[in-house]
Structures are given as C-alpha cells and as structure tokens.
Amino acid sequence: MEQEKPRLAVFKFASCDGCQLSLLDAEDQLLAVAGALEIVYFPEATSRMEDGPYDIALVEGSVTTLHDAERIQQIRKDSKYLMTIGACATAGGIQALRNWADTDEFIRAVYAKPEYIQVLESSTPISDHVKVDFELRGCPINQYQLIEVIQSLLAGRKPRTPQHSVCLDCKRRGTVCVTVAQGIACLGPVTQSGCHALCPSYHRGCYGCYGPAPQSNLVSLATHMEKEGDSRTEISHRLHNFNAYAPAFRNESQRLLEQDGE
C-alpha cells in the first residue's frame, strides 16, 4: 500500500509573492518535490484548497491586519511544522518601516479615502504571534535553501543552512572586499549568508537582504562607517531596509538615531 505523503500548505500574508515563487522557480526539482509531498493548499499554484491538518506549513509575509493576526493562529493550530519563508515573515519586511512612522499619516499619503483602509499600526514577523519551528531568511529566500529545508524535514534531519556572515562568502568566491578596496559601505560583516555574497560580486555593498547574522558586531561596523564619514542618520537608514525590524538591526538603528538626537 502506498504510504501517505506529507501534506504541504503554503500561506501568504503581506508580501510580494517572491518567496513562494522560489518554490515554483526551482524548475528542476519542482516536479520531484511535488511528487514527494501532497500540495494541498497553495493558492498561487493550484485551485485545490483543502483544510488542515497540514504536516508542513510554509508562511510568507508579515502580519499587518487584524484578520491576518487571527488567521495565523488558526494556521498554527492546523500545522504540525510551521516554517516562515523570507524577510517579511521572519522580520516584518520592508513594510515594517511604518513601525517607525505614523501609520495613519502613511495611509493618508497613499490613499484618497483613508477610511477604507483597515490595517494594524505595525507590520510584525510571524514569530511575534505564534511559535515558529524554523525561519528561512532572505529577501528573497534562496530556493536551494528552501529545497534543503523541505528535504531535511522529509528525511527527519536538521536543515543545513549556514549562519556565517556574507564576508566569509566573499572570501570563498574570491571577491575583493568592496569596503577595503573601494570604500563602499557594505553590510556584509553583519549580514547572514544565503545569497553567496551577491552584491559585492556586482561591485556594490551588501544591503542586508538576509538580515543580521548571529553575534554580529553592529556597533563596530557603525563606528567604522562613521569614521569613513557617514552620518549616523545615513548608517541608520542603511539598516532600515528589508530586515529593519529584525532585533539586531532595529536596536542598532535606534541607538544611532538616539545618539544623533542627543
């Protein structure tokens, strides 16, 4: 008798769809993955929509509405293993910039009839609302890491996703340091690997897509950037990006802005 396949569901909150697209972009493995799992809920890809329980839930996007804050609770209840994919789901995304602003003012600036808009004051990561079993970083995520995590789950082993900083990847691929050689501001030393040090290989500084690397020294990097002549506001701005609300980036940008205000 054929064994029942694990049931996979893919959910979307406030986001650009790019991370779930990474699954469809894994063209070479897509049909194999689809064969190993039962895709029972994935509105972007299929009209089949089944209720839980789910063995694996992939969650893209941040929580920005009351309805979504409630929806994630139900998804958690329905899911054995809940994994967030991407910067929005793990750190609130670019839309979390409103956490530093007056959301009503933001809405008035964009919408002619602000009274129709019902959103929360903040954009928050999924882990602020429910227990998350694994967070896959990136804006967008790396499709190979996504496949690795799904495969490891199926095999019942721990996923192998690196936690070192982008700098190490530059050394590995032989990219000359853009900060040392060209004086370009780069978040590589404090950003978690996942992109294979992409931006420096395109002659530009890392802008922190994968969020803060564990134990990175943000004060040291900010101090270096200040010595290079950047203002604290400029440095803070650099951290106010796709992972702005990730604690390490959030705290350091806050510290810089407070110092600036003194």
């Binding site: 790019g18 049909l31 129709y116 808009i117 019902q118 992409l198």
Partner: protein, 430 residues
C-alpha cells in the same frame, strides 16, 4: 427566481490575494466585484525621505514576479528627473533584462497558472502527469527567463544589478555566450508552445474595450515610447495622469482606472500590446501570429494566452539578437549630480503599462512617489468583462459558474500583490 450570489473567497493561480463576488437577480447580473483583500504595504509613503538610489531595490519588492518592471519604470523616471540619458548600450541591456522577465513571467502564467483552465486541471503540477512534455518544456522556458534575469540582474527575484544610470557592472562576454545555445533551443520551443496553446478550445466570447499600450516607432514596446490606444490616440507619457484617472465607483471599494475623456475602463497587457503593435513583433513572432490565426484586433480575453506565447517568441528572438551582437564595452552607468525636480516614466510590465512619477529634492531624496501598476488599471475592465461573461456561463451549478468566472479573471494574469499598495482596500468577508 430568487436572488443569489456567487462567491469565490480566494482566487487561485493569481499573484496575491483577492476574491470575487457576483450578485444575481434570477439570471440577470446585479453586481460583479473583484475583491482585493491583500493588505496594503504603503510603498509610496515609505519611499519618502530615502535616497533616490534606494528606489530600484525597494520598488522591486512590490512584486516578486515582475521586479524588473518596477526597477525599469523607477530608473527611467528618476533619470528623467535628473536629466540623465542612458547610453545605447545600457538601453540595449535593459531591453535584454526585460526579455528575461517576459519569458519568466509569461512562461509561469501560461503553463502553471492558465493552461490548466483549458485542460481541466487544478494546477500545472497536476497537469504535468498527463502533459509531461508540455509542462517540462514550459518549466524550461521559465527557467531560461530566470537565467537571463539572473545573468544580467544578479538574481531572478529582486535583481541587484540595476541602478539609476544603468548597471553596477557590465555582463561579461562569457556570461552572454553561455546562454545562447539554450536560447536557440528556447526560440523553437516557444514557437511550439504557442502553437500548442493556440490549439486550445476557446470560448466564443468577445468584449468591447479600449486597448492601451506603449508604442514605439522602431521597436516592440518595452521601456519607452508613447501611449497608443485602439481608439487612435497617441499620448505622451508625461500626460499620463491627465488622461487616466483612478476613481471610486459605488459598487467597489477599490480604485478603478478610467480614460478621462470617455469615462470608460480600458485594458492593458499582452493582448493590448499585440493588438496595437503587431507589426513590431520579431519576424518569427509576426509570422507565427498569422499562422495560428490570431485576429488583427483580438477581442477575446481568453486568447491572451496566445499573445503571451507570441511575446515569449519575440523575447527569445530579440534576446538572441542582442546577445549575438557586439558585446557591450562602455561604462556600466551614466553619472549624475543631484537636482530638485520631477520625473515620470512608463514601461511595459508583463501585465501591462506601469507608470511611475517621482519628485526629488536637491539632496537626492524622494519627496513624492506615485506608482500606478497595470492590474489596478485593468480591474474595472475585468469587472466589466465578467458581467458579460457571467450571463454566458451561468448554470444551476454554482461551483461550475464560479469556476468559469475564475477562469476569465486568470486570463488577465492579474497581479494583486502589485496592485494593492495603491488600491483602496476594504476588507469585507461574509
């Protein structure tokens, strides 16, 4: 007969989140609403105060499926504000990048999102069991699009190489050459794919609407041109907001675009582009359009899948021409100095014309951003077409009717993620 409603809570195989609501009195259609409940992300507001250089990286995040379109409209609009003119080489590379996005986005839509409707499957993945060759071919085309964006942009989703003035670095000759054999295969495969979809059974259905797209005297429209309409108008991009307007209508909480002069909705996208620019298609695509019998002015929205196929063929042929041509050797980007000003631009996203306008200050910071994505412009026309379509597909089987409505919505390839950062959204669920 009693009043009844047909609801599709979640539209599937579209990008982003939306639903559909149809209210009927007997068999007469009272109301059709394309409901958007995707949460707004307020991009135009969060761009304010940021250095203009951040714009292409941030606007790319409006959409994971068509980030290139957002980057292209952004950089063109900002260059217009800065009085920067990109070199011919940069211009050529930008078209090449756009070719990659069209191949990727159209390939995805045709094979994984839209074709299952014609063949009776829930998804492209299910369809693959019965049509393995066609789906695998489609996945390979999509992959080529991704590879091209990856080669020139650094990565397929949210490319990193695009900047105001041009690119951070020029592609190397070997990067171009590596792709050529695959693209030669892909051109033939795209022709076969187009023949395949043109053989689908299409419902006998025509709508009346105004088709609108960019148009250019020398090339199939992508990054530049004037706005051409099927009613015979030519409009400068700088007059975009004078000619088109978003407004509220009583039955919808979403803004809907209309032509100011007619007060009527209009349609953007591949069908509009092919209808208005057929003569500019590459030779193979033009010949193929004749061969598969696409009408000179096709009014059947279901047949947009054929237009997508023709555009993939065009994109392969143009990409090959660019990659086989002289390798770009000039500087990767134009330099500029800051000046206060305003700039606007429109480019052809896979789903249609995407308009951006920015006001910048003398320190190079964004003061104001206006972004008008294609899906929000198409929305009113989609609703108008649905009203007509419902009467044709209505049956006692509500599920079947709902499915038929969804099929039509998918024909437009709406990108709800794109459209909602500017649409007025009212969350209404019952």
């Amino acid at each position: 007969m009693a009043d009844r409603t047909i609801k599709v809570e979640t539209l599937t195989r579209v990008e982003g989140e939306g639903g559909l609501y149809v209210r009927l009195s007997g068999d007469a259609v009272d109301e059709v609403r394309l409901e958007i409940y995707e949460p707004p992300r307020l991009f135009e507001a969060l761009l304010r105060g940021r250095p203009l250089e951040d714009t292409p990286d941030i606007t790319a995040r409006i959409c994971g499926i068509c980030p290139v379109a957002y980057q292209m409209s952004s950089v063109h609009a900002l260059e217009s504000a800065l009085d920067v003119t990109a070199s011919a080489e940069i211009r050529r590379l930008r078209r090449l990048l756009y070719c990659g996005e069209w191949i990727e986005s159209h390939g995805l839509h045709m094979h994984l999102l839209h074709a299952p409707d014609f063949l009776g499957f829930d998804s492209g993945l299910d369809m693959a069991k019965q049509f393995p060759d066609e789906v695998n071919r489609g996945l390979r085309l999509k992959k080529h699009g991704n590879q091209l964006v990856d080669m020139l942009g650094g990565r397929a989703i949210h490319p990193v190489n695009v900047c105001v003035g041009g690119f951070y670095r020029m592609p190397r000759r070997d990067e171009f050459q590596k792709l050529i054999p695959d693209f030669e295969w892909g051109l033939n495969a795209a022709v076969e794919t187009t023949r395949w979809v043109a053989g689908f059974e299409f419902p006998d259905f025509e709508t009346e609407c105004e088709y609108i797209s960019l148009s250019h005297p020398d090339e199939y429209p992508m990054n530049e041109g004037f706005i051409k309409t099927s009613s015979g108008d030519s409009i400068e991009v700088s007059h975009y907001e004078d000619e088109f307007q978003e407004r509220h209508v009583p039955h919808s909480t979403a803004l809907q675009a209309i032509r100011k002069s007619t007060g009527r909705p209009y349609l953007l996208g591949p069908l509009a582009r092919v209808n208005l620019n057929r003569e500019q298609l590459s030779p193979t695509a033009r010949q193929l359009a004749d061969e598969v019998g696409l009408e000179p002015l096709c009014k059947n929205p279901h047949r947009a899948i054929i237009a997508r196929g023709l555009e993939i063929v065009h994109a392969y042929e143009e990409a090959l021409m660019i990659m086989r041509g002289d390798h770009p050797t000039g500087k990767p980007r134009e330099s500029y100095s800051y000046q206060a000003g305003e700039g606007m631009a429109a480019t052809e996203a896979p789903r249609g014309t995407l308009f951006h306008r920015y006001v910048i200050d003398e320190a190079g910071k964004i003061v104001k951003a206006v972004i008008i994505p294609p899906t929000s412009q198409n929305q009113a026309q989609i609703e108008a077409d649905l009203k007509q379509w419902v009467t044709q597909v209505i049956s006692d089987d509500e599920q079947q009717t709902a499915r038929q409505c969804e099929n039509l919505v998918r024909a437009y390839d709406p990108c709800i993620s794109c459209s909602t950062h500017f649409l007025n959204v009212k969350i209404e669920r019952t």
